[in-house]
């Protein structure tokens, strides 16, 4: 029995190289025109249809975490894990549907979400939200590159730093040619490939093992209470021994964290606002996010049920080695690796390769979108807004391409450094809400409530975030069970408690019609604000 990485190293290079070459060549041939002006580069031409926007949202919202951590919830909490993972992460999409439709109607020339905040409120809110979305996008990209790199390293043995460098080069290469359109086009292709891989995996588990056998396996877990995670706290094991209970309390806590964290990760994330920007009209924006919700929910739901709950029912134990149907061994290294482990046990190399292709595609599509989102805010909001408002089209375009490389190198440096010092990402997903979600209610109120107080929104975002972070670090000692749940609730709760009364006491009426022609087209921010005030 072998104990080396289950796939050969060259397979990693082949999968990544094939994807990089295919997307770059396809984009160069199909969409050269989309990279010829700064407007087209950053906004995709604003004429992309429903099918591609829908697929792009689905692909962008699938991270390596979607397939790996959702399956971990199935393994850890039983059948409710996939329900709560899918529900909590899907809720932001219909919210974005209504925001997208509203923005396309009231400010059709918006390119970025901080740009909307600027014309809706003032400079301090603009700067705050520019910084927030840059941090959100960088945070997500760091998780993606690391998650994808760790997974491919475990499966192929290729050095982590080479995987990280190759992934980043792929992100930057095809995006450099045609910007947002390239990102959305590649998302579309990857989405179709991912669905094909996941359908094979999900239906093989249904046919080869069957739901009834999985149920019997779960009953066995309830009766025998096996220790499937040696060294884990007793609370973790007790949650695992209750896999058929709707009210698995650890699972409910995860639902709260997942919902609040993902609201921040979507509503404060320029990547999803870009999909709204690229849509041809408000109805397509609304419809695409709504159908994306319907299409995205079953991805973690079905995958985690098949692989996470399936792995639990088979009694897979962390630290043990299991063999594929052809007799090759693979070590079950950690609970978050249950998805590829189960795929390997059930389908052998085929299951593992399909899983690697799906996660590789998810990593590349999301990473590319997030890096472009960072560049969009840096160039559109900060550079053109404050440093060089009269920047020419050519200047903006060349700077966008330059910043893609600079941001890529910056991210790589952090990823490789954190990997070298042993920094783990196990808590980053659950701590997202603590970092960002104080901005969710202010954004929502800016979009829909004409009397929102601008100072209230600014301080609600800052104070909510600070109090939540202080609670999690100082009171909860960065606990990742109920401590992080309460921190997420505090972040959003404090933000609401500050902004809503402040607005009620001191409303600042605003006419949404004044934003109809707003956007970064003129000489300076002050001049632009004067132009929109006159309207």
């Amino acid at each position: 029995m072998e104990h080396t990485a289950p796939l050969p190293e060259w397979s990693m290079y082949a999968i990544l190289a094939a994807q990089g070459i295919i997307y770059t060549v396809a984009v160069v041939i199909i969409a050269k025109a989309k990279g010829r002006s700064a407007e087209a580069f950053l906004s995709g031409g604003r004429d992309i249809g429903h099918g591609m926007i829908n697929a792009s949202i689905v692909a962008t919202w699938i991270w390596a975490a979607t397939l790996m951590i959702s399956s971990w919830t199935g393994f850890s909490y039983g059948f409710t894990g996939p329900w709560w993972y899918a529900a909590g992460a899907t809720i932001p999409l219909p919210c974005m549907a209504y925001i997208g439709k509203q923005i396309k109607i009231i400010m059709p020339k918006a390119t970025s979400y901080p740009e909307f905040v600027l014309f809706r409120s003032d400079k301090k809110n603009h700067l705050l939200h520019s910084i927030i979305t840059i941090i959100v996008c960088l945070w997500v990209t760091l998780m993606i590159i690391t998650g994808g790199g760790v997974m491919l390293h475990a499966f192929t043995g290729a050095p982590f730093w080479i995987i990280a460098v190759l992934m980043t080069i792929i992100f930057i290469s095809y995006i450099s040619f045609a910007g947002l359109w390239a990102s959305i086009f590649a998302d579309t292709v990857m989405c179709l490939v991912m669905y094909a891989c996941l359908l094979i995996i999900v239906w093989t588990v249904v046919i080869k093992i069957g739901p009834s056998a999985i149920y019997e396996g779960l009953i066995n877990v309830i009766n025998t209470k096996p220790n499937l995670q040696p060294g884990a706290p007793i609370e973790v094991l007790e949650a695992q021994w209750d896999p058929l209970n709707w009210f698995n309390t650890a699972g409910l806590g995860f639902l709260i964290v997942n919902t609040i964290g993902n609201l921040g990760a979507v509503l404060c994330n320029q990547t999803y606002w870009s999909r709204m920007t690229g849509s041809a009209d408000p109805y397509i924006a609304w419809r695409s996010f709504m159908t994306a919700a319907f299409c995205w929910w079953p991805i973690p739901f079905a995958t985690a049920t098949a692989l996470g709950v399936g792995g639990l029912s088979m009694g897979l134990t962390v630290g043990e080695t299991y063999t594929s149907p052809t007799g090759v061994g693979m070590l079950f290294t950690e609970p978050t690796a249950v998805a590829p482990m189960t795929a390997f046990v059930v389908l052998g190399y085929l299951g593992l390769i399909m899983f690697v292709v799906a996660v590789g595609g998810a990593t590349i599509s999301t990473g590319a979108g997030e890096i472009l989102a960072v560049v969009t805010v840096l160039v559109n909001d900060l550079y053109r807004g404050y440093i060089n408002p009269k920047a020419s089209d050519a200047k903006v375009l060349s700077l966008s391409r330059l910043f893609l490389v600079v941001v890529g190198i910056f991210l790589l440096a952090i990823v490789i450094y954190w990997r070298a010092i042993g920094f783990t990402f196990s808590g980053m997903y659950q701590a997202m809400g603590v970092a960002f979600s104080s901005a969710v209610i202010p954004i929502w109120m800016f979009c829909f409530y004409k009397n929102t107080n601008k100072d209230g929104a600014f301080w609600a975002t800052i104070i909510g975030g600070i109090i939540g972070i202080l609670y999690w670090v100082l009171v909860a000692d960065m606990d990742l069970l109920w401590g992080v749940v309460w921190a997420n609730i505090i972040v959003m709760g404090v933000s609401a408690v500050i902004l809503i009364p402040w607005t009620v006491i001191s409303p600042q009426p605003f006419d949404f019609k004044s934003m109809k022609n707003s956007g970064f087209e003129y000489g300076s921010i002050d001049e632009m604000l004067v132009v929109t005030d006159d309207k």
Binding site: A55, F79, L199, N245, C295
Partner: protein, 52 residues
Amino acid sequence: MPMTQLTASGYVLNHWITAIWITLAAIYTYWACIHDMLNFFKSRAGKSLDVE
């Protein structure tokens, strides 16, 4: 068995729902993407003909 615990038939139904739902989602996504791509290439062909 606690009232909040799934029965065998409940779990089986839940599992089938996950498989059928992802299949429907895939069918819809494929259909919508192919529809868009066809429109995109038709409009490019139309513009080429206009130029000529």
